[in-house]
Structures are given as structure tokens and as C-alpha cells.
């Protein structure tokens, strides 16, 4: 055959692919592979500390909780992940089929309110649903007593929510369980009719309140602290609804061991570490979340857990993992 650059190029291409395929497959078998749906700023220091204490090497894959969940579902039994650390119980519940059962006593290490009865995952931190509002445009007297009051005409166009957010979806599931599907649907439709504004997540909603786009936002409790810690003048505050209201729901972030893992022993050590007093203290101080183990002091700006428990609705945490009905409902009313 005569000299043909096409062949040469194809040959080089094939060689390049072959070389590249060989790279990157070098992860040692005993390295712990963690999929983290939680941000690097919070996770990286904890992992560095874990490595220093145990001598176990880790590889961390960062992404948003829901994308990680999609990836884990696609990987199934071939997943290289040993652990999945998720931002919300909805994702943990959806992934229960790919998780291994934890040791029988694992969930007894955490406070009762945070336990997973199926014992497929364990909570690593707690948070509550709250109402965030503008201190510039809202008089405390005009705060709603119940979350269902937000469908009232005086809140028209002033409230934001994030229908794709795991925390919000967990709240809707709890709403359905407590008040029934019809009531949940009526509330969602009432909110839509009242021109509730859709945002991507909790942080963008708080930005929107500060910027004057909306006056109220339905979010998790620990986002506002990150703003007010840097800027005491930040014109946003947060509040609860009246005692027992479904809007005061308690939620968790948690971690589970992937069934396909061949490194379950070290994975268990990582969970033990996350539940240790030092790690719990760090998560609370750094992330403005509630510790899940007894005897750890929560961040000073947080309401006491006892007070929160006194006003939070009684909902079976495990039921919140059952997302299907909620997603169907959100689709039916046109939010997804």
C-alpha cells in the first residue's frame, strides 16, 4: 500500500485510545471510593482527617446528590463506589436497593428522631424545614402561622420554592402522609395559583429574598447561617410555623454502604468516623446543621434540638424515602 496519511492517522488514533484506556484504571483495591453528594468545602476537611487517623486512602467523587443517585442507579451491581454520602433522605430512600444492610445496632448510635428503621443508611446530620423572609419587607406580625396560609391572597407572588430540591420533595411526601394526597394536591395547586416562584435550590431562593424578587422562601434551616456569618446586616431572617405544623419537618443527610462494595469493612470505619464526636462537632460548626449523636453541642445559632422536636410534626422518616407518589403528584400539577 502506498503511503496514506489516513492510515497513519487512524493508527495513531488507535494507539492513543489504547494508551488512554490503560490509564486511570490504577485505583488500588483497598482505596475507599466515596461518592459525595455533599459539597467539597464541607467534606474534604473531614476526609483528610479520616485519612490521617486511620491510614485508609480515599478517592472522592463530588457531584450533586441527585446526579450521583442517577449514576449509582445506572451502575447498579457494577458500581465502583463503596459509600454514598447524600444530601437528603429522598435520594437515600430511592437508593435503598443498591445499599447493603448496616450492622443491626448502627442506627441506635443516632438520636431516635433521625433513625432509618430499614437500617439501609444512617443519618450524619439533621436539619429542619423553615420559612425564610425579608426583614425589610415583612412585619413579624404578618408571618403565616401555618404553611397552608401561604395560599392566602396576601402572599400572592411573594413566595418562592424549589420543586426539584430533595428537601422540598421530602416535605411534600410528609405532607401527603400527614394530611392525605388530596390536601397536598390542593395546597400545591393553591400555591401555583398564588404565583409561587420556582427556583433551583435553597441558596438561590435566599439570594432572591435578599434581592427583593420574593419576600418568603421555603428552605432548609442551615443555608441562612452561611450568609449571616459573613454579613450581620444581611436583610433576611428565618422562622418556624406554629407547633406541629408540617412546615417544621425535621430532615436528615446520611450515608449508606453500596452493596457492590468489596471494601465494606473500611466503609464501615468511615461511617464510624462520621458519627464520632469530632466529626459531628465539625459538621455542626461548619455546616450549621444538627448533630445526630447525643452529647455533641450544636452550633450556637441553632435552636435547641429539644425545642425543634417540640414543634416538629410526627412523621415516620422512612416513609419519606417513598418518593414515587410525590413525583407523580408534582408532575400532575405541572411542577416537574
Amino acid at each position: 500500500m502506498t503511503f496514506a496519511p489516513g492510515n497513519l492517522i487512524a493508527g495513531r488514533f488507535a494507539a492513543g485510545i489504547a494508551l488512554a484506556l490503560g490509564l486511570g484504571q490504577m485505583a488500588a483495591a483497598d482505596t475507599l471510593t466515596i461518592y459525595s453528594g455533599r459539597g467539597e468545602a464541607l467534606v474534604a476537611p473531614l476526609i483528610a482527617q479520616f485519612e490521617a487517623e486511620t491510614g485508609i486512602k480515599t478517592d472522592v467523587r463530588y457531584g450533586s446528590t441527585s446526579e450521583m443517585a442517577a449514576l449509582l442507579q445506572e451502575e447498579g451491581t457494577n458500581s465502583p463506589a463503596d459509600l454514598f454520602w447524600a444530601q437528603d433522605a429522598g435520594a437515600l430512600g430511592a437508593l435503598a436497593p443498591v445499599f447493603a444492610a448496616l450492622p443491626a445496632t448502627e442506627n441506635e448510635k443516632v438520636l431516635e428522631v433521625f433513625r432509618d428503621p430499614s437500617n439501609k443508611w444512617v443519618a450524619t446530620s439533621g436539619r429542619t424545614r423553615v420559612l425564610v423572609y425579608s426583614t425589610e419587607r415583612v412585619e413579624p406580625a404578618n408571618l403565616p402561622a401555618k404553611i397552608t396560609d401561604l395560599t392566602d391572597a396576601k402572599y400572592k407572588g411573594r413566595v418562592s420554592w424549589a420543586p426539584t430540591n430533595g428537601g422540598f420533595q421530602a416535605f411534600v411526601t410528609a405532607f401527603r402522609l400527614t394530611h392525605g394526597d388530596e390536601a397536598a394536591k390542593a395546597w400545591l395547586e393553591g400555591m401555583i395559583a398564588n404565583d409561587a416562584k420556582v427556583y433551583k435550590n435553597n441558596g438561590t431562593q435566599i439570594d432572591a429574598v435578599a434581592a427583593g424578587e420574593v419576600d418568603f422562601a421555603l428552605v432548609n434551616n442551615y443555608y441562612l447561617g452561611r450568609y449571616t456569618a459573613k454579613d450581620a446586616e444581611f436583610p433576611v431572617d428565618q422562622t418556624n410555623f406554629e407547633a406541629g405544623d408540617i412546615g417544621n419537618l425535621v430532615l436528615v443527610a446520611g450515608v449508606g454502604i453500596v452493596e457492590a462494595s468489596d471494601n465494606k469493612e473500611n466503609a464501615q470505619k468511615f461511617i464510624d468516623y462520621l458519627l464520632s464526636p469530632a466529626a459531628q462537632q465539625f459538621i455542626s460548626l461548619q455546616g450549621y446543621e444538627y448533630p445526630v449523636t447525643p452529647g455533641v453541642i450544636p452550633h450556637a445559632t441553632l435552636e435547641s434540638l429539644d425545642a425543634v422536636q417540640a414543634i416538629s410534626p410526627k412523621v415516620d422518616v422512612n416513609q419519606i424515602g417513598d418518593l414515587e407518589g410525590t413525583l407523580a403528584l408534582l408532575r400532575e400539577v405541572g411542577l416537574l
Binding site: 496519511p5 468545602a41 463530588y62 442517577a70 465502583p80 418518593l323
Partner: protein, 535 residues
């Protein structure tokens, strides 16, 4: 096989080299994998659920929104790019080189940074409030999304139009003028028709990008197909509905590709005469230069000033906390990955372009269209398809660099086709035919006569791909080896919980890094122009 040989210039030309066919086959397989995967996922549903999914009224709304967004982005992008391309090629504007650089530079800005920049105008910590004490209404919805997308995609239109202006034979315009046509008439009847193929192919690059983009759209809260697809995966853990939406999106892309092929078919604007192509005498701007500079300043401020200012704003709040070693490592990783993908993509694009130009026919045009489908596939669907097939067929390669590189090559191949195609068309077959007449074999004639002239455009095409890879996020995130850190995934890992200050140095590094290579693109494009001018 005979179909391929006879559909070319039967009898006169040999059939394509095996290597060309292999390359085309690779493109075909690589770009069909996502569609195959989507079909598998799409039919995993119950029939009743399926009907409900496919015939939702919401799908129509999403389609309408998607089309409106594409139309608006193309309109804004063309309004910016067309005057700029004319100014830098046909007018006596000063500092044309600088203007060209400024207008190509927004390529370096990642979409999510542009969207944050526009949002950063308004807002509590926004510029308008912090610097001027006024609260601007936030840019949201259709206009916000369209503006942020057009501000970093218009350079594709600009570069294409500029190349078309430069490649135009002034003889045609002069003939029209000598036949008594006024300047406006020459513009309408001679110049614009010649710009049409370049404009349409640029619209294709931008339009297909827009329908697949997610980052900017999510921030601007505008519901289009890609947003809905993401929502189904991310918010609902629903791969079936997401697969259906992705297939619908691919249908839209296929229609656009079909339309493009119809619109640009059988058009030839290559020089037919002999002799040296002359430059057009530049149009004197006079006082219009002031308006031109005003427009240039406005566009530069919006497309470059704004994102840089926003990043500077974030940096100022956290400059002490930069981990330089980590930043350097991420930059090196991004650079190496980008370079490898760029080289492989150009190496694969060249045979595809040669095939479409020299052995035109069904097989060649199918290959070309498939390369574009790869570009149009929603990245999330492409990523999950690669996860699915890698684990099913070559599990040992899962989360290896190889698979990530393969996915990138298949995604960005289309970007390299345009510049190479244009260059090969302008070089034409004659020099090579002369070499053949002097006794050189087909391979040798190509290697000695055409290939040296292709060097510039190949580098330019490679750099375009390089920049796209450095900015790329979804595939990178989904397929990269665990623990391997690039600039864009680091930005993502830090913005996921709203840590803008921590993300800023990496976003800035992407821009600085890419800006350098934008400069190189122009350099190599310029070399090519001079050479073809002499040719």
C-alpha cells in the same frame, strides 16, 4: 461498497481508503451509542405510563420554549457578529486585530459563569446595588437565558462570518458594481448569499449547543427541554421520562440538521478563475467609526467585562484561601486532557471531511450528520449511555480516562469539521491533481501538497476543541476517574452548595487558560488566510 464508489465521480476516482471508512465507522458507532441507550431506557416503561409521558401537554410547552430560545439566541448573536465580522474584514477600522481578538475571546467564558455574571448585575450583593445603589430587576426567563447564551456563543458566528468574508472573491462584487449595482444591492444580491452557508453552519453550531445547554438555563429559570431532562434525572430519579425527552430533543436536532443540509446543498462559491485573489478595498467609515467603537465597547463590556468583574468580586472575598498546588494540578489535568482530545478529534475529523468532500454520497453525508448528532446529544444522556455501555461491554475501562476521552471526541468532533471543511474547499483539488499528473500517488499527493496547507486550520480546529473540553462539565463530571480533578469539575464541586468564593479562582483559571488559546486560534487562522491568498 459499490454504492460508495459509484456515487462519487464514477470511474475517475478510486474508492476511499480503508482508513477513511474505519474512521467513519467509528464516528457512526460512537455517536449512535447514546441514541441506542436512550431507546433501551425509553421502552423500559409500562405502555400506559408511556402514553402519558409522550403525550403530555407540557412537552409542547417545552418545545415552544426551546424554539423561542434558539431563535432569540441566534438573532442576538447574529446582530452582534455580523456587523463585527464586516468591520474587521471590510472597513478601515483601526486595530482590527484587537477587535477580532476581543470578539473571539468570549469563547473562553464558561456558560455558568456568564449566567452568574448577568445575575450578579442585580441581586443583594450585585454590582448595581453595591456600586450605584440601585436595584435592577433581575434578568430571568427567556431574555435572561437568551442574553447569557448569546454573549458567549456569538464568537462562533463571528469567526464563521469573518472566514466567509475573507474567503470571498472580491471579483464578484466588483463585477456587480461595474454592471451598475449600488452598494446596498451588491450587499443584498452578492455578499449576503455568499455569507449564507457560513451563517447557517454557525447557526447550527450555536443552535444545537443551545438546545443541549443546561447550566445557563437552570440559573435563568427558563423551562426548556434540556432543563426538563435534567429535572427528571436529578429531581425525580426518573430515567424513562428523561430518555423520552432526550429522544424528542434528538428529533429536533435531526430536523435542524436536515434543514441545514437542504439549505446549503449544492452551493459553490469557490473561486473559478486563475491568478491571485485580491483584497477588497476597505470601506471608509468616517464618523461611523464612533458608532462602531461604541458597539464594540458595549459588546466587550457585556461579554468580557461583566464575567471578569463578577469573578473578581468573588475572588476579593476569599483570595487568602487559594490552594495553589491544587489549582495548578487541576490546570495541568485540564490542559493534558484538552490537548489529547483536540489531537484525536482533529485526526478523526480529517478523514470524515475528506470523505464528505471527495466521495460525496449517502454514506459520507450520513457520517457527517451523525457527527453532528453526537454534538447535539444532551450531555447527561451521553454520559449515562457511556456508563451503561462501558459497564456492559468493557467494565475494566469504567471511569478510565479512555472512556472520557472517547466521549469528548464524539461530542466535539462536529466543532472540528467546519474549519477543516472550509479550508479543504478553498484549497480545492487542483494542486493535488497537478501533483498526481506529475506522477505522485494519491496518498503522497495529499501528504505533500494539501496537508502542509492544512496545518493552520487543523491547529485552529484543535484549539476550538481544546477550549470546549476545558469548559465542559457534565461528561467530565460523570465519566472522569474518581479523584481526578479538572478545572471545571472543581468549579462545579464548589458551586454545588453555593460556595462561589471558593469556586472563583478555578473559573478565572478556565477563562485565562482558554483566552490564551483563543489568541492562538486567530494566529493560525491568519496563517491559513495568507497562504490561501497566495495559493
Amino acid at each position: 461498497m459499490t454504492g460508495i464508489a459509484t456515487s462519487g465521480r464514477a470511474g475517475r476516482r478510486p474508492r476511499p481508503q480503508l482508513a477513511l471508512l474505519l474512521a467513519a465507522g467509528l464516528v457512526g458507532v460512537g455517536t449512535c451509542l447514546p441514541a441506542l441507550y436512550l431507546v433501551i431506557r425509553a421502552f423500559g416503561a409500562e405502555p400506559a405510563q408511556l402514553a402519558e409521558i409522550v403525550f403530555r401537554a407540557r412537552n409542547l410547552m417545552l418545545l415552544g420554549n426551546t424554539l423561542a430560545l434558539v431563535a432569540l439566541v441566534l438573532a442576538i448573536g447574529t446582530l452582534i457578529a455580523l456587523p463585527m465580522a464586516w468591520l474587521v474584514t471590510r472597513s478601515d477600522l483601526r486595530a482590527r486585530g484587537l477587535v477580532t481578538f476581543l470578539m473571539a475571546l468570549p469563547l473562553a467564558v464558561p456558560g455558568y459563569v456568564m449566567a452568574y455574571a448577568l445575575l450578579g448585575l442585580s441581586g443583594y450583593y450585585g454590582f448595581a446595588r453595591e456600586w450605584f445603589g440601585v436595584s435592577l430587576p433581575p434578568l430571568h426567563g427567556l431574555w435572561g437565558a437568551a442574553l447569557s447564551l448569546s454573549l458567549y456563543t456569538f464568537p462562533y458566528i463571528f469567526l464563521n462570518l469573518r472566514a466567509a468574508f475573507l474567503g470571498m472573491d472580491p471579483g464578484l462584487e466588483e463585477s456587480a458594481a461595474s454592471l451598475g449595482r449600488g452598494r446596498a444591492e451588491v450587499m443584498r444580491h452578492v455578499v449576503l448569499p455568499q455569507l449564507k452557508p457560513a451563517l447557517i453552519s454557525a447557526w447550527l453550531v450555536v443552535g444545537l449547543y443551545v438546545i443541549g445547554d443546561f447550566g445557563a438555563i437552570a440559573l435563568m429559570r427558563y423551562e426548556v427541554f434540556s432543563y426538563a431532562i435534567y429535572t427528571q434525572y436529578a429531581g425525580a430519579f426518573d430515567r424513562t421520562y428523561a430518555a423520552w425527552l432526550s429522544l424528542m430533543l434528538l428529533g429536533v436536532a435531526a430536523l435542524a440538521l436536515f434543514a441545514q443540509a437542504r439549505l446549503t446543498r449544492s452551493r459553490r462559491f469557490a473561486r473559478v478563475g486563475t491568478g491571485v485573489q485580491r483584497r477588497v478595498r476597505p470601506v471608509r467609515l468616517g464618523y461611523w467609526a464612533v458608532a462602531a467603537w461604541g458597539w464594540i465597547l458595549l459588546v466587550s463590556l457585556a461579554a468580557l467585562g461583566l464575567p471578569l468583574a463578577v469573578l473578581g468580586h468573588w475572588m476579593r472575598r476569599g483570595i487568602g484561601e487559594i490552594d495553589w498546588a491544587m489549582l495548578a494540578q487541576a490546570a495541568v489535568n485540564s490542559g493534558i486532557a484538552g490537548a489529547v482530545v483536540a489531537v484525536l478529534t482533529v485526526a478523526l475529523a480529517l478523514p470524515v471531511v475528506l470523505l464528505t468532500l471527495r466521495w460525496p454520497g449517502r454514506f459520507a453525508s450520513l457520517t457527517d450528520r451523525l457527527a453532528w448528532m453526537g454534538y447535539a446529544t444532551p450531555p447527561l444522556a451521553f454520559g449515562l449511555a457511556m456508563v451503561f455501555f462501558t459497564l456492559a461491554v468493557i467494565p475494566f475501562a469504567y471511569q478510565s480516562h479512555g472512556v472520557l476521552i472517547f466521549a469528548w471526541v464524539m461530542t466535539f468532533l462536529a466543532l472540528a469539521l467546519g474549519p477543516l471543511r472550509l479550508a479543504l474547499m478553498q484549497i480545492g483539488m487542483r494542486p493535488e491533481e497537478a501533483a498526481r499528473a506529475l506522477g505522485a500517488g494519491p496518498g503522497a499527493a495529499f501528504a505533500r501538497v494539501t496537508a502542509p496547507q492544512l496545518k493552520g486550520p487543523m491547529v485552529a480546529a484543535g484549539l476550538l476543541v481544546f477550549i470546549a473540553v476545558v469548559k465542559e462539565l457534565p461528561l467530565n463530571w460523570m465519566l472522569a476517574p474518581t479523584g481526578w480533578r479538572s478545572l471545571s469539575t472543581t468549579v462545579f464541586g464548589r458551586t454545588v452548595e453555593g460556595m462561589m468564593t471558593e469556586a472563583a479562582p478555578y473559573a478565572l483559571a478556565i477563562i485565562v487558560f482558554s483566552a490564551f488559546f483563543v489568541g492562538l486560534i486567530l494566529k493560525y487562522e491568519g496563517v491559513d488566510r495568507k497562504e490561501s491568498g497566495r495559493g
